[in-house]
């Protein structure tokens, strides 16, 4: 007879739980896998019915995503044989590559605005959270509620005032404007999450550091920050995911210079028929940074999501 433990789950229940989790993961990954596969299909395979799971992969979608193309006369095509592999791909449609598309720029905009606003939210959020956690601030509870209340309406409800305000201030279609906007939305989340994390760090550590010869700021920097790393990492992921995926304000407030990838990707559809593989390719590349960022910080993220569930 095997040993029996009250707290340790049996092998069978572990197996059962594992199967459930894997099943659930598979189901949630189907759309992701579908997008990634579609990126490698030809336009006809992408819209075939019944959908094809086995198909001949092509990089056509990616080529179309990163380039603009023009149709040419047979004489021109005959006189200019394709040189690169991607030129051959578009040649099947009697086209030549006219130049790079705007996707690279838009993607870079997403990176600048997404990471910029995440950094700013975390920077301001950590300082504010520390202050709320450690200092006696008059009306602290009211201020915290006020900060939270900015989350209580759908952001799009203030779309028109923000649109007008940004036009007046010259912030429309600028990186700074988008960074400020996303920071404004994220900072409430950042302050609340980080305050919870900093509250959990016992005051004694800082007191010990003060007595050990450090100033308050040095104690914050050397003792509190390293211990809040988990909280900062998970808050950063939440902030980045929001800023990265945001669509409505990006459509409304950007059109060129500062346009991010989300409003750009749908515009591909209109460029030459329904180019689903190109859209899927754009979506796949767009997914990667958040995916990598999340994988890098996943240990912290798990702790961040379950935070508060178990009191130490």
């Amino acid at each position: 007879m095997s040993s029996f433990s009250v707290t340790e789950p049996s092998a069978r229940s572990k197996w059962f739980a594992g199967t459930l989790v894997i099943l659930y993961a598979l189901i949630t990954m189907v759309p992701l896998a579908w997008i990634m596969l579609t990126g490698f299909k030809s336009p006809s395979d992408a819209i075939s019915y019944p959908p094809k799971i086995v198909f001949e992969p092509t990089l056509e979608g990616y080529v179309n995503l990163f380039t603009t193309r023009t149709r040419q006369t047979p004489e021109f095509l005959a006189a200019n044989p394709p040189e690169k592999w991607y030129e051959e791909i578009v040649r099947e449609y009697d086209m030549v590559i006219a130049g790079p598309s705007k996707f690279g720029e838009r993607f870079l905009n997403s990176v600048i605005i997404g990471f910029g606003s995440t950094f700013l939210s975390i920077f301001l959020g950590t300082l504010a959270a520390y202050a709320f956690s450690r200092f006696k601030i008059p009306l602290a509870d009211d201020l915290l509620f006020f900060i939270l209340s900015t989350r209580m309406m759908p952001p799009i409800a203030v779309a028109i005032p923000i649109f007008l305000m940004y036009r007046q201030l010259g912030l429309s279609d600028t990186h700074l404007g988008m960074i400020l906007l996303y920071t404004g939305v994220n900072i409430s989340l950042a302050v609340w999450l980080l305050k919870g994390f900093i509250d959990e760090i016992p005051l004694e550590y800082e007191e010990a550091a003060l007595i050990d010869g450090y100033t308050r700021f040095q104690a914050f920097y050397k003792v509190v920050l390293p211990q809040a790393a988990t909280g900062i990492a998970s808050t950063a992921i939440f902030c980045l995911i929001f800023a990265w995926n945001e669509y409505a304000f990006a459509v409304l407030l950007t059109s060129g210079t500062a346009q991010t990838a989300p409003p750009f990707i749908p515009t591909i559809i209109g460029v030459g028929g329904l180019d689903w593989p190109a859209v899927a390719a754009g979506a796949t590349i767009f997914l990667l940074p958040v995916m990598i960022f999340t994988i890098l910080l996943r240990k912290h993220l798990l702790r961040g999501i379950t935070f508060g569930a178990v009191r130490k």
């Binding site: 007191e207 003060l210 450090y214 100033t215 390293p226």
Partner: protein, 331 residues
């Protein structure tokens, strides 16, 4: 090392009294123990001296310097907290080096290395130096936390019940170690505890606190032999002093309402008859629990003698202490 003087130090928390009008001088090189029950103001006194709390009234002088408006860092004190409060993200070595690396001390790295290994040696944690601070047992953590104070050469060491969370054996070891360190460094220590053994064995001076007030300050022997109130008499001595109404025995001073007899103040052989209720053979001595007219009395007896339960022995007070209705000593 330095002399630390408190003048009329007071601190309230809202309507709660933290400490009230405390004045005392901690002489250079003294080992002062603050004794008192929970809530007596021991920890508050330490925190006020360290600069972690700001006093409402009163002054703190360190070597002729008023430190009232200085930051904790400027006061140059080392403190050991009751909860070890090691920096959990650092190794044991980095924890010990942390105060030495501070912008105030800026110790060169070879001096840090030397100091850290010295202290680790003394506290027997050399083999754990590269461990994370969280990967230690409670006893080891507390030794590291004491070590973090010992690497420095501060004006005064402040210790807030540093041994209270340790097991009995380790507590005894560290007690001896602290006493040895005090003797060899000539350090000034202010040590908070509610453990009277710690107070009696380590202190050069004992301050007894009650409800935020310093009720008596003196050598452990003075406090034990000459308590100035019932309260102080009850704080020191194990088994506790026997307190009886004064009319149980004859020959009391006029205003006395209570007579206090420590176990060794009970003379056997003549006087009133008391019944033996319980006998505890501790080996080196025997403890007797008696009742006299319904009052319980504890005393010590010759370990070679045999006592039978229920028999009567004659007892009388020998050099007892007398107290008046307010609990003050009558001399």
């Amino acid at each position: 090392m330095a002399e630390v003087t408190l003048k009329n130090l007071s601190k309230n928390f809202g309507t709660d009294i933290g400490v009230e009008d405390i004045s005392m001088t901690i002489p250079d090189g003294a080992f002062v123990v603050l004794l008192g029950p929970t809530g007596a103001g021991k920890t508050t006194t330490l925190r006020l001296i360290a600069g972690l709390e700001k006093a409402d009234r009163g002054e703190i002088w360190v070597d002729g310097r008023n430190v009232g408006n200085e930051t904790p860092a400027q006061r140059d004190m080392a403190m050991v907290f009751q909860q070890y409060s090691l920096y959990p993200h650092l190794t044991v070595r980095d924890n010990l080096a942390f105060p030495l690396k501070s912008p105030i001390l800026r110790t060169p790295s070879d001096a840090i290395e030397r100091k850290v290994s010295e202290v680790a040696e003394v506290l027997q944690i050399s083999h754990k130096l590269n461990n994370k601070a969280t990967a230690l047992s409670g006893g080891e953590m507390q030794r590291v936390s004491i070590g973090r104070a010992l690497v420095r050469d501060p004006a005064i060491y402040l210790m807030d019940e540093p041994l209270s969370s340790l097991d009995a054996k380790l507590r005894t070891d560290l007690r001896v170690e602290l006493k040895r360190i005090h003797a060899s460094l000539g350090a000034t220590l202010l040590y908070v505890t509610h453990d009277q053994i710690e107070a009696m064995t380590m202190a050069t001076h004992v301050g007894v606190l009650n409800e935020g007030r310093l009720v008596q300050f003196g050598t452990p022997r003075e406090i034990y032999e000459n308590p100035n109130s019932l309260y102080v008499a009850g704080r020191l001595g194990l088994p506790r002093i026997n307190i009886l109404p004064v009319d149980v025995f004859q020959n009391a001073p006029v205003r006395a309402t209570h007579i206090g007899m420590r176990p060794e103040h009970v003379h056997q052989g003549d006087g009133l008859e008391a019944e033996v209720k319980r006998v505890e053979h501790l080996g080196d001595l025997t403890r007797l629990h008696l009742t006299l007219n319904g009052h319980a009395i504890t005393t010590v007896a010759d370990p070679t003698m045999t006592y039978d339960l229920g028999t009567a022995i004659k007892i009388a007070p020998k050099n007892p202490l007398f107290f008046d209705g307010n609990g003050n000593r009558i001399r």
